[in-house]
Amino acid sequence: MTTEKQVLDRIERIRRRRPVVREERITLAHGSGGKATRNLIDAIFLEAFRNPLLAPLEDGATLALGSSRAVFTTDAFVVSPLFFPGGDIGDLAVNGTVNDLAVCGARPLYLSAGFILEEGFPIGDLRRIVASMAAAAEMAGVSIVTGDTKVVQRGKADGCYVTTAGVGVVDRPATLSISAAQPGDAVIVSGPIGEHGVAIMLARGELGIEADTLSDTAPLNGLVADLLDTLPTQVRTLRDATRGGVATVLNEVATASGVTVVMDEESVPVRPEVTGVCELLGIDPLYVACEGRLVAVVDGEHAERAVDIMRSHPAGAEAAIIGWVGEDPPGLVLLRTAFGGTRIVDMLVGDPLPRIC
């Protein structure tokens, strides 16, 4: 007779297989940042574009350009609404790309911006977005050096989409990688989670819920620089916890590094309003997007030091150790619940949440 253990082992083997996309059409789940997104990327994009720079699926690709090392990244921003408490699509588009460069260990320098505008979009709104982008670029110390604008017929977009790409230089011999986490490392988050996603959900007005939640959108390159200046090799992995939230980032770490990540629910910073909204809607803040929160995997010996460094930067004032890295079972994220129990924290299966970035 088959035992529970045999069944569970078989499942883990199956999970490690190359995913296939069985659906015939794109659904919202493919954009959720969870499993369906990952399957789409693996089975369609990685498969077709196969090359060693894309394959590790870091937040950006590290390139040799002449004698220099650079990081190159891109993100498309389709957030709705375009303007929300704490930010707008403009600063989101700048910060998002700045952060992807920063977490790859690069000093962000140059951004491109591609706009897709819907016929009828108010030019006043475009001015606001562009001004936000300029301010965010200034704050992050980057320049928007090239761009493109397309206009589509009314009804073929949602006002304004922005795709930014970014280039940064790698000055230090960093070994940052999603697959570099090691047993004994600590997991740190730079501040309270889920605020961006909750702010967006509420800003749509459809839920009738009111709360004072602001998006956490912010550039993280300063914080990352501080961290890497002091702990250049002790920092293993950096990620900004965007679509899919902290849980998704840690699942990626666990899978890529072949380790267990153990989270301690009680030490994960979550503001009460975020908890309130999540309880009301029955969602888990671990999966809710941030746009200005860093997840860092750091050599356990230097974890306290890393938290201190973060806390002395405004973007990391509420940094906290939220877990650690173990050896077995590889590829899984486990949670010690505040209640004192334990459970798995899996990749999100396509929850059709509203568009958040």
Partner: protein
């Protein structure tokens, strides 16, 4: 599906629509109070919220009674734990 969350009544029930503002951890939503017309609701009362409706008024005394009982269960363990708490200096 049967998700129900305790919230505090922070506004007056609006006559026509049966709606009142309820606060859940600093988050507010208008909730339909029509199913609790028999209860004598006032701001500060707590209700159980489900899909936009208040299903029942929460009894603070019953809640306290259960907590008291729970604290009574396994008294020995609780004593131990209290001692532990006092030694906690974090």
């Amino acid at each position: 599906m049967c998700l129900g969350i305790p919230g505090e009544l922070v506004g007056i029930v609006e006559e026509h629509t049966d709606l009142a503002m309820v606060d859940v951890s600093g988050v507010r939503r208008r909730i339909n109070m029509g199913l609790l017309a028999d209860d004598d609701l006032k701001p500060g009362d707590w209700v159980l919220v489900h899909v936009g409706f208040a299903l029942s008024k929460i009894s603070e005394s019953e809640a306290k009674a259960v907590m008291d009982m729970l604290h009574g269960i396994g008294q020995a363990y609780t004593d131990e734990i209290d001692a532990l708490k006092e030694s906690d200096i974090s």
